[in-house]
């Protein structure tokens, strides 16, 4: 694979990096061509982030060299990386919520007047023109904290562009975006490429990789599996490169035996949702689709007692219940796997063991004492059931990969033997392999008679896993679709307009309750 050298903007040669004796990267070579979109994929722990952090100057490679725009570097400092036009957009956005869009974009480089005072007029004008260049219509005087995550991400990109930039690395930019926002991101990427900027796009979502990238480099266990142009690859070939073995990309089949009613919600209304009614049966998976902000997560929180109800009622296994707190919900056999495992699902600084057993401490207490033996058994069981990869159960959760972290969240809830499980974006930000494990686990749970409510932004996941699909729009359920009748088109139509497609209108009920 020899390319004309003037085409290559970046080449990282034979990069190795280890932490405390463990190899994170071994002899990795990576190069990308100017003005293209280069996807970087691989499972969690494969070394993608480490490689990009070396490029950004956050880590120093143990060996290897970087050739960027024809210059050789043994190491790049953060300053050099910035000054030479490398920008990184991290998944966790680095913005100040109480400052305006323009102030964030020019943070630390505020334009001054000749007197040395802030020149906010110029700052606002330049910020507006930057956002214009991205094709984004946004009031630069608004506070960043008031914007949606997707818009905040655009501010972050605009900030990168406010300096001379040749290369932008985006670390899983889509993880925080819903469908229509993704299209905006893609059009931004296209306009960047048109301006001869190189984009390195890190993602788990293969659809996106195929849609946006020109070339892809696959990392696995700290080594490069290969770099290929995407037109030469099929989806299953790419998956095979990533996981090292062929995988049937099929969702485990529903056995379709729906049991008795597990939960009935009637006319739930909170600050964020309006008159939502639904029914869950044991043994079924009900998918909840809808745009980010349509009230999906708030529905989950309302069911789980995390947000207080203004009106409405819950009936669980035939009995009317007041679920005033998550504590009450847990005692009624409910579980919620929240959308953001780092801030809502896990105690990142506590050991794996404590995270798994936090929900069942009363069951492993005899007298006043926690029983170490019972606890070890519970952890051992979870570990086997979920195939959590860990060195020891005393390891802090923050040291695990995303997929393994998600398994710990699941483990903590499965330990309670719940009858109703609410999953909010169960496979967000985890690799293909762990995804399939979670799908199979969900099926195993329904086979045991558990009722699952699954919120997801990924339509293939919704279509592949759900027995029924509820589509939310503007805080209410816009319609219900059966597994057979559901298509991406119908879901998107319901989610964006709140109404069914013309040909689907007779099946659209607007009410999930019969």
């Amino acid at each position: 694979m020899t390319e004309p050298t003037e085409d290559i903007i970046l080449e990282m040669r034979n990069i190795s990096k280890s932490f405390a004796g463990v190899h994170a990267l071994r002899d990795v070579s990576f190069r990308c061509r100017r003005g293209t979109v280069h996807a970087l994929v691989g499972e969690n722990g494969a070394g993608k982030s480490t490689l990009m952090k070396i490029l950004a100057g956050a880590y120093v490679a143990d060996s290897g060299e970087i050739v960027y725009k024809g210059r050789h570097y043994d190491r790049l400092t953060t300053r050099e990386a910035l000054d030479s036009g490398i920008a990184i957009i991290y998944q966790e956005l680095n913005l100040l919520p109480y400052m305006t869009v323009a102030e964030n974009i020019f943070l630390g480089r505020e334009p001054r007047t000749s007197l040395g005072l802030l020149d906010s007029k110029r700052m606002n004008a330049e910020a507006a023109s930057l956002l214009n260049r991205l094709g984004v219509n946004l009031n630069v005087r608004r506070l960043v904290g008031e914007l949606t995550v997707a818009r905040q991400q655009m501010v972050e990109i605009a900030r990168a562009l406010s300096q001379q930039v040749d290369m932008i690395v985006m670390d899983e930019p889509s993880a925080i975006l819903a469908g229509h926002e993704l299209e905006i991101l893609f059009s931004i990427i296209e306009s960047l490429v048109a301006q001869n900027v190189t984009v390195v796009y890190i993602s788990h979502r293969l659809d996106e990789v195929f849609q946006i990238a020109d070339e892809v480099t696959v990392l696995k266990d700290g080594r490069v599996v290969g770099t290929k142009p995407l037109e030469a690859l099929t989806r299953s070939q790419l998956i095979q490169m990533m996981v090292g073995r062929p995988l049937d990309e099929v969702f485990p089949k529903s056995r379709g035996h729906r049991g008795e009613t597990a939960l009935v919600a009637q006319h739930l209304t909170t600050d964020a949702i309006n008159d939502v009614s639904l029914r869950l049966h044991s043994g079924e998976i009900v998918g909840v689709a809808g745009m980010v902000g349509s009230g999906r997560t708030e529905l989950a929180r309302a069911l789980f007692g995390a947000d207080s109800l203004r009106s409405g009622s819950l009936t669980i296994r035939g009995e009317r219940r007041r679920v005033s707190s998550p504590n009450a919900a847990v005692r009624l056999g409910m579980a919620l796997v929240p959308e953001d495992r780092k801030t809502q699902g896990l105690f990142m600084e506590l050991p794996i063991r404590d995270n798994i057993t936090v929900t069942i401490l009363d069951r492993i207490t005899r007298g006043a004492m926690l029983q170490r033996r019972l606890e070890a058994e519970a952890v051992q069981k979870a570990r086997g059931e979920l195939a959590i990869v860990m060195a020891s159960d005393r390891q802090e959760v923050q040291d695990l990969s995303g997929g393994n972290q998600q398994k710990v969240v699941l483990a903590k809830w499965l330990a309670t033997a719940p009858t109703v499980v609410i999953l909010d974006e169960p496979t967000r930000g985890i690799d293909v392999g762990a995804k399939f494990e979670i799908y199979q686990l969900m099926r195993a749970l329904t086979d045991r008679g558990v009722a699952i409510l699954m919120i997801s932004s990924e339509l293939p996941e919704i279509l592949g896993m759900s027995d029924r699909i509820l589509v939310m729009h503007d805080g209410a359920i816009a319609g219900e679709l059966s597994r057979e009748e559901a298509t991406e088109e119908k879901i998107i139509h319901l989610a964006t307009t709140g109404r069914g497609l013309a040909e689907a209108s007779e099946t659209q009920t607007g009410q999930a309750i019969d």
Partner: protein, 324 residues
């Protein structure tokens, strides 16, 4: 599961276990080093009498610091500890008024006052959602005001058995020290081996996660704040046994002393990380420094300076743990 994929174990993993213990190594290492220094430089240091005194003097900060540790582990802070001690000394001295038959009432009332103050803290923090720093800054001042309204000069008197308790020995050591270690061990047990203990770490680790995990977060907060104020009240009773009278100057600055001990012991001010072994180390280290200055005839005011330096250096060192 059928598809088992092995992800590489992240390199930071190995640090996980070790880095928790680094503060302990540093604190107890310092204690050992200072002990050796004291032994080599003064023949008054390594005597039974002196060592017992260090421990006995440490009981006061230590008892209050146990409560402070629980509160800080849960992600809060209690700035009212010193004022609580102050009020407790006065209340118990007044109620006792030198009469042995009043001891029971005085002790129960003083500890009961601790329950009330702690419950008030928790109520304000959980229901009215006022930050713990603000709530306890308020009660710091309120309790202090109450104490000085009661009296600005020594008032009331401890009953003789209470005064005798201060010098009472169980075998070779003071009963006060034994009582402190019993408390310490019980609460270490609570932290490590009970549900309440785990919940404290969970709430301090991430309150939102704790709530969503079904943990009764508010009850946990009631628990830690009540324990903290009750332990402060107990510190007041211990202090009364030492002073014999209700001296309103007792307890000054104790809230910061306890926070210093907790922080030097490696407990994170953000909560969720640390424990009582560290706090014990912090308390003993502070006691040892004070004692060494006396034994070596050094200017007493140096104590504050050294204490401050140790806090800053220790915490700066802990921050480096496990970083590449």
């Amino acid at each position: 599961m059928t598809t088992t994929l092995t992800a590489a174990i992240p390199p930071e993993a190995r640090w996980s276990a070790l880095r928790r213990h680094i503060p302990y190594l540093i604190v107890y290492g310092l204690i050992l080093a200072l002990g050796i220094y004291g032994t080599l430089n003064s023949d008054r240091f390594l005597t039974d009498r002196n060592l017992l005194n260090i421990f006995r003097q440490s009981v006061f900060i230590g008892t209050a610091a146990i409560g402070q540790t629980l509160v800080i582990l849960s992600g809060g802070i209690d700035l009212s500890v010193g004022s609580m001690v102050k009020v407790s000394v006065l209340v118990s001295a007044l109620l006792m008024n030198g009469q042995p038959e009043n001891i029971g009432v005085a002790v129960v009332a003083t500890l009961g006052l601790g329950v009330v103050v702690g419950a008030a803290h928790a109520f304000l923090i959980t229901r009215l959602k006022v930050a713990p720093f603000i709530v306890t800054l308020g009660t710091y001042s309120i309790l202090r005001g109450i104490a000085y309204t009661i009296s600005t000069t020594p008032i009331g008197r401890a009953a003789p058995p209470v005064v005798q308790f201060y010098d009472l020995k169980v075998g070779p050591v003071y009963a006060l020290i034994v009582a402190f270690f019993v408390l310490l061990v019980v609460l270490m047990f609570v932290l490590r081996r009970t549900r309440f203990g785990r919940y404290i770490y969970a709430v301090g680790g991430n309150e939102q996660v704790a709530r969503l995990s079904g943990i009764p977060v508010n009850r946990v907060k009631y628990g830690v704040y009540i324990l903290c104020s009750v332990l402060a009240a107990l510190t007041g009773l211990f202090a009364l046994s030492r002073s014999g009278v209700g001296d309103p100057n007792i307890g000054d600055g104790l809230e910061l002393e306890t926070i210093s001990a907790v922080v030097i012991g490696g407990t994170s001010l953000f909560g969720g990380r640390g424990g009582l072994i560290g706090t014990l180390g912090g308390v003993l280290l502070l006691g040892l420094i004070g004692n060494l200055l006396v034994v070596l005839n050094v200017n007493q005011w140096l104590r504050d300076l050294i204490e401050g330096a140790i806090i800053v250096i220790a915490v700066a060192l802990y921050k480096q743990k496990g970083r590449q």
